[in-house]
């Protein structure tokens, strides 16, 4: 029971939740007439069995890490950024726009410029809810949801009006802005793996450094723990709320750049959200809002999503099973009160 207390609970709760989530998934498969053992074996093979699926898993992880970092960063300041999805879309568009505009630049200039543009676009999109929260005490959950839909429609309108190429999409970005690499594709048996994962890892390091090694990070976390005490200690709470949302939005925008510069190299007119932003919420929760945890959780969810494809072709289980498992994992992580409650009960009685 010691495992459920103190610093260990940061590890045991997520691990237990994943196990319970997979268990529920297995039960659903049993009830609906699939063989869970065959299915999970296929899922596992679908993540690790060859270099192609490994490459695809890392590619899937890349935007997930950044969107997870975005959600986690805002969480640290006590803010819930559900708007990662919208910030990601404007970031995607900005990166593709920069990728299309400049010609003859060195990749060493063009790529950072495009990612920066994506970050700035995401930050600007997140500034609105941050500002409204700081200034008018408007709950950021609602405003970020609304901003998601505004982003979806506005981005589509901009593509249709200014950037349209045949096939309801933009043109392909210039080669100098592309993160795609024929070397990485060759070693992974022509998966869509690109250099974006380097950007994502750098992002994780930036978040860790910013939060734990700088005064700004200390202030941001302090506001997250207790707004009123922070204000009393002379921290500008309003400024920190806006700053937190803006940085969070920048991570989200960079996640969009991974799609724009890496996986696709263009942007399509979107009928619906990508889902990456919402998955970021799951990633941040499971990763306990730490940079390292986010990377691990992205690996798990990215792996599940890629493995699901093999699970469908081998065991005929629809890929949506993985979404159910992820949802159950969030439920269990969020309901960790239950786990703590049980452990307290058991401890009080002096048993186990």
């Amino acid at each position: 029971m010691k495992l459920l207390k103190g610093k260990w609970s940061a590890i045991t709760v997520p691990v237990l939740s994943v196990a319970l989530g997979l268990l529920v998934g297995g039960m659903i498969m049993l009830v609906s007439g699939y063989n869970p053992i065959v299915a999970y074996a296929a899922l596992f093979n679908g993540i690790f069995s060859n270099s192609y699926v490994l490459g695809e898993t890392v590619r899937q992880m890349t935007p997930l890490i950044l969107s997870g970092l975005a959600v986690a960063f805002a969480f640290r300041t006590g803010l819930f950024n559900i708007g990662v999805e919208g910030q990601l879309l404007v970031g995607w568009l900005a990166s593709v726009y920069v990728g299309l505009q400049f010609e003859g630049l060195s990749p060493l200039v063009h790529i950072p410029l495009a990612i920066l543009a994506a970050g700035v676009a995401g930050a600007m999109w997140a500034f609105v809810p941050g500002f409204l929260k700081a200034k008018y005490h408007v709950h950021e959950v609602i405003t970020t949801i609304m901003m998601n839909y505004v982003a979806l429609h506005v981005v589509n309108a901009i593509i249709r009006t200014y950037l349209l190429a045949p096939g309801e999409r933009t043109d392909q970005i210039n080669q100098s802005a592309s993160l795609q690499s024929s070397f990485l594709q060759t070693v992974t048996d022509f998966s869509r793996l690109h250099y974006g994962f380097v950007v994502a890892i750098i992002g994780a390091i930036i978040m860790w450094f910013l939060l734990w090694k700088t005064t700004t990070g200390y202030e941001l976390r302090s506001v997250g723990f207790n707004k009123y005490a922070s204000e009393y200690a002379g921290i500008n709470v309003q400024r920190n709320i806006i700053l937190s949302m803006v940085i969070s939005g920048a991570f989200a925008g960079a996640a969009g750049a991974m799609e724009g510069l890496g996986t696709y190299g263009y942007m399509t007119v979107m009928a619906d959200f990508t889902g990456v932003g919402f998955d970021g919420i799951a990633v941040a929760l499971l990763g306990a809002n730490s940079a390292f945890g986010v990377v691990l959780a992205s690996a798990l969810f990215g792996g599940l999503k890629i493995g699901a494809l093999n699970m469908q072709s081998v065991a005929q289980v629809p890929t949506q099973l993985v979404e159910i498992v992820i949802a159950m994992i969030i439920f269990f992580v969020a309901s960790s009160y239950l786990i703590h409650w049980i452990s307290n009960r058991v401890n009080k009685r002096g048993k186990i």
Binding site: I28, S32, F80, I82, V128, L132, Y136, V138, H139, V141, I142, T143, I145, M146, M147, N148, Y149, V150, H153, V154, N156, A157, T161, A271, D272, F278, I281, A282, L285, P318, Q320, L321, V322, E323, I324, I326, A327, M328, I330, F331, A334, S335, Y337, L338, W341
Partner: protein, 320 residues
């Protein structure tokens, strides 16, 4: 095209697309008035739409004929209530973050509904349903000059039920002891507890009511507007209903008004191309207007929107 023709084009379309939003927004009013944030409306609506399509098809097979969609609405209410129990258990009993729990509910609904569709129909979407809820002229009322053609001709009965229910919900919330208790639990649960109101029970009832209403909203969408269920059937209507609830200031009639207005914006973005003057306005402004207006309302620029006091906070007995 004269003015009357324009109105005849726009108003029935607005009422038509507003009905599912009204149902769902009313559900949101119940839940949030009791102090439980319900981001899960989208997922509940999605389950409702799935149930609506599935049981209409089953009803057809069981020989229910034209009654099939109505039968499916009832099943959708029940499924919605059961499904919302997950949100209730996690956020009320286990004190999970209500927003997180709602997000998880949305994930689960999206995964589960498509999983079941693939399992049952071996395809990505359900077949098109045969027995839809069709347009009808309301007898007598549609003969009234001016008002008749606008409000009572070629309309769906579900739209009238939605509008009538808004008044019923208003009556329940503001004129009955049950409503007073429900609201008190959302404003000051400790005071309510002191007065002998069972906070946990009230919140469970409220969340389940919201599940029933959202399930109904989703099923109405599937059986009247969409005609089948696929992954794209419910994409954001639940969040728009949430917006309507907030824009309507957590009041049933306000929510209904906001839903009608959002329905108008939606119908204008579709029919606008046929209306002189509106043609020049890019579609995108109409599409984003519900969301922008909600943000402005929350910022206090379009009337002040104040949430119930205790919203989002789990209640723990004896905790100050």
């Amino acid at each position: 095209m004269d003015f009357m023709q324009i109105l005849q084009l726009v108003i029935p379309a607005a009422i038509f697309s507003a009905a599912p939003l009204i149902f769902t927004a009313l559900g949101g009013v119940f839940s949030e008035r009791s102090g439980v944030v319900n981001i899960g409306l989208e997922g509940l609506m999605l389950m409702g739409a799935f149930t609506g399509a599935l049981f209409t098809i089953l009803g057809e097979q069981w020989g229910m004929g034209a009654a099939s969609p109505w039968f499916s609405l009832i099943v959708a209410i029940i499924i919605g209530m059961l499904f919302s129990l997950l949100h209730a258990v996690a956020s009320i009993s286990f004190k999970a973050d209500q927003v997180v729990s709602g997000v998880a509910l949305n994930f689960l609904a999206a995964g589960l509904a498509i999983f079941l569709v693939k399992k049952i129909f071996d395809a990505g979407q359900t077949p098109i349903i045969q027995e839809r809820i069709y347009k009808t002229d309301v007898p007598f009322l549609s003969d009234i000059p001016f008002i008749g053609p606008l409000f009572f001709s070629s309309a769906y009965y579900t739209s009238y039920i939605a509008i009538a229910l808004a008044f019923v919900v208003w009556w329940i919330l503001f004129k009955t002891p049950f409503g007073l208790r429900l609201r008190s639990v959302g404003e000051h649960p400790m005071a309510a507890d002191t007065m002998g109101i069972n906070v946990t029970k009230m919140r469970y009832v409220a969340v389940m009511l919201s599940g029933g209403f959202a399930g109904l909203g989703g099923a109405v969408y599937a059986t009247s507007i969409a005609g089948n269920f696929s992954h794209a059937t419910i994409s954001g209507q639940g969040f728009m209903a949430l917006a309507a609830m907030i824009f309507g200031k957590w009041h049933p009639l306000g929510a209904m008004g906001a839903a009608l207005f959002f329905g108008l914006a939606q119908s204008l973005s579709i029919t606008g191309q046929q209306i002189p003057g509106l043609k020049e306005i890019p579609e995108v402004y109409l599409l984003i207007s519900p969301y922008v207006l909600t943000i402005l309302a929350l910022a206090g620029l379009v009337g002040r929107a104040d949430a119930p006091k205790a919203i989002g906070q789990p209640y723990e007995k004896g905790k100050r």
